[in-house]
Amino acid sequence: MDILNDIVVPCLIIFVACIAFGMMFNILRRHLIAAAIGAVVSEFVYSLLTGLEVSEVKSIFLAAAAVALYSEILARLFRSPVNMYLVVSIIPLVPGKTIYDTMITLVLGDSESFLSRLLDTFEAAGAIAMGIFMVSSVVRLIKDFREANGRKIIEAIHGLASKHDDNIKKI
């Protein structure tokens, strides 16, 4: 594996590209830098795993899960919507080349490679979706449990208070 050409250079390009990409969505200052770093995280995980000869779909899945986790953490840290970081961070994983190849094979009338390319596209898209799905579902579950517990405590306090009132009335 050529570390410089396979990991460092793509990560640098992605950093520059995603700073500009974040500007297209009007993200400002520290959020912009954080979003671009998220894109670098996804590109780094993806290129590292493909370099270690992990399959394409698995690499995309793990990279998507990594950026989803990164975005959720940063959103809690900076108290801003998760979208702010996630939108830019998944851009390096979007299978632009595969979609283009799918279209080219369709235009050329090569139905066999068209079908296999189409499958590649759906696999990549599904891997991104599932990676984010997994992490975000777990995060949401934790959040919901914590909120439910908080409500239980409040209700318990209310319950105690009303019991106290009843006792006073009885007396």
Partner: protein
């Protein structure tokens, strides 16, 4: 604050949140919290990417509806709206104070036109390089991305749909790329087309549709997924037309 004023505040906040690119669960959750802060726990809320309805059931039920047309993704303002809703829940301010803050948020600065064109230029060039283009291809890829920005500004002015925008923009840049190739400036047009098309990737729709599905808003999820798929298909159709023409 009266019920009518609360409904007005809620619809305005919901409208701008949806417009600036929030997922539907966030909109519903925010409005629910605001209503709860003013002790209207039985407010009925129905939000989709296209409209927003709220009914506050007091002595006299109050219903307010707002249509959300299109998208003006602006994540900075979305973040500010998020802060505003947190502030409302904490302080429970008066009606006019909230509207004043909302007005301030909607006047927050956006990047100037020149910077925006520069951003498109950089995205186009960087992704052309990322997909393996040489220096000439990178320069032309950047210029094609600038053409995309120019075209989509004109199309936005006449309120073209996302699909039409994708088809027209990708067709124009693909024909330009094929033309550049045919006068032998570059060896291939595919890297330029892919690089420049990255500026049209429906990023906000992709993330929003997944987050909507996670939170169980399947209606909004399908709406946004369709938008994302149609935009991607539009990109392919536009580029395909140009490539097919080049083969003749």
């Amino acid at each position: 604050m009266t019920d009518v004023q609360l409904a007005q505040v809620c619809t305005t906040i919901a409208k701008y949140m949806t417009l600036y690119g929030a997922e539907i669960h966030r909109v519903e959750d925010t409005i629910k919290r605001i209503c709860a802060a003013y002790s209207k726990h039985n407010a009925q809320i129905y939000a989709t990417p296209a409209n927003f309805i709220i009914t506050i059931k007091g002595d006299m039920p109050v219903t307010d509806t707002v249509m959300v047309g299109g998208r003006q993704t602006n994540l900075d303002r979305l973040g500010r709206l998020n802060d505003l809703s947190r502030w409302i829940c904490l302080r429970r301010p008066e009606h006019m104070a909230i509207l004043k803050k909302l007005n301030e948020i909607n006047k927050r600065p956006v990047y100037p036109q020149a910077v925006m064109y520069a951003a498109y230029f950089i995205v186009g060039g960087a992704f052309t390089f990322f997909y393996g283009g040489n220096i000439t291809e990178v320069i032309f890829g950047s210029l094609l991305a600038v053409v995309i920005r120019f075209m989509s500004e004109r199309l936005k002015a006449v309120k073209a749909s996302a699909f039409l925008n994708a088809v027209v923009c990708s067709a124009v840049i693909s024909f330009l790329a094929v033309a550049i190739k045919s006068v032998d400036f570059v060896s291939g047009f595919d890297k330029m087309i892919i690089g420049a098309s990255m500026t049209l990737v429906p990023g906000i729709q992709i993330t929003n549709c997944m987050r909507d599905f996670i939170s169980g808003d399947f209606y909004s999820g399908i709406y946004t997924l369709t938008e994302a798929l149609l935009t991607a298909a539009g990109l392919a159709v536009g580029a395909g037309a140009a490539v097919a023409a080049s083969l003749i």
